[in-house]
């Protein structure tokens, strides 16, 4: 599996963790009342900030783990020591963002936009059906988190299948 696919998986795990954390918060007995939209909006904003923080943290941890993984693999295979020039070369080469990677990212982001669009439509449908307004906020947040997961899945598919 390629470096980009692994990075996408790490990003998806962070997205899923955020959805789970939000569900736990929303179903908790101490959650704000359904009518208190201001509190819910503030909570969602906090979750968005936490989500960005988690993504950054996961990416940093992923890069450290990747560097260690490559160095250990190389050491076991060829007996190279950590900090060896060849290890640095492999890591550098894996992280190059060329046109193919940019095309894949663009195509994958299209899947994310689809989910976001569906989320907005679903939120309006929820309000139109007479449900509580807060349900629309839940749908919007849930679909935006799902959009990042869909983007990751699409990215992996394009990487493994290839783009023409």
């Amino acid at each position: 599996m390629s470096y980009i696919s692994k990075r996408n998986i790490a990003s998806m795990v962070a997205g899923i963790a955020l959805i789970v954390a939000y569900i736990i918060y929303a179903t908790d007995a101490n959650a704000p009342a359904a009518e208190n939209l201001r509190a819910w909006a503030a909570a969602i904003l906090v979750f968005i900030v936490i989500g960005i923080g988690i993504q950054i943290l996961v990416q940093i941890m992923f890069h450290i783990a990747l560097a260690i993984g490559i160095a250990v693999k190389k050491e076991l295979k060829e007996g190279c020591k950590q900090g060896d020039e060849s290890v640095e070369r492999i890591i550098k080469s894996e992280m190059v963002e060329d046109e193919r990677i940019k095309i894949i990212e663009l195509k994958a982001s299209r899947a994310g936009y689809w989910f976001m669009g569906l989320g907005v439509a679903a939120a309006f449908m929820v309000i139109a059906s007479g449900a509580e307004t807060v349900a629309a906020l839940h749908v919007l947040f849930g679909m935006s988190a799902l959009a990042s997961v869909a983007e990751g899945v699409a990215g992996i598919i394009y990487h493994e299948r290839g783009v023409k």
């Binding site: 980009i4 080469s93 060329d98 193919r100």
Partner: protein
């Protein structure tokens, strides 16, 4: 009648004749990622003209020596 254009490459063969150049070495010379070299060799990606020239330059050969076109008509290759 529509013709399907397939672009094939000789990267694997050229690497072999370039003193068994590794995928990593080619990626560094052409300024692309190693994964892209893997995808190109597997026929999973057709590069842009710019990348194609960069790969040809990395081998020091002309574009035609790296890439060749195969047209497919009614299931038969030409």
């Amino acid at each position: 009648m529509t013709r399907k254009l397939i672009i094939k490459n000789n990267i694997r063969r050229l690497r072999f004749f370039a003193n068994e150049m590794t995928q990593l070495e080619l990626s560094e010379k052409a300024g692309i990622s190693r994964q892209t070299v893997v995808a190109l060799e597997a026929g999973k990606y057709t590069p842009s003209l710019e990348m194609a020239f960069r790969i040809a330059d990395a081998f020091g050969v002309s574009l035609e020596q790296v890439f060749e076109r195969v047209t497919e008509e009614n299931g038969s290759r030409q």
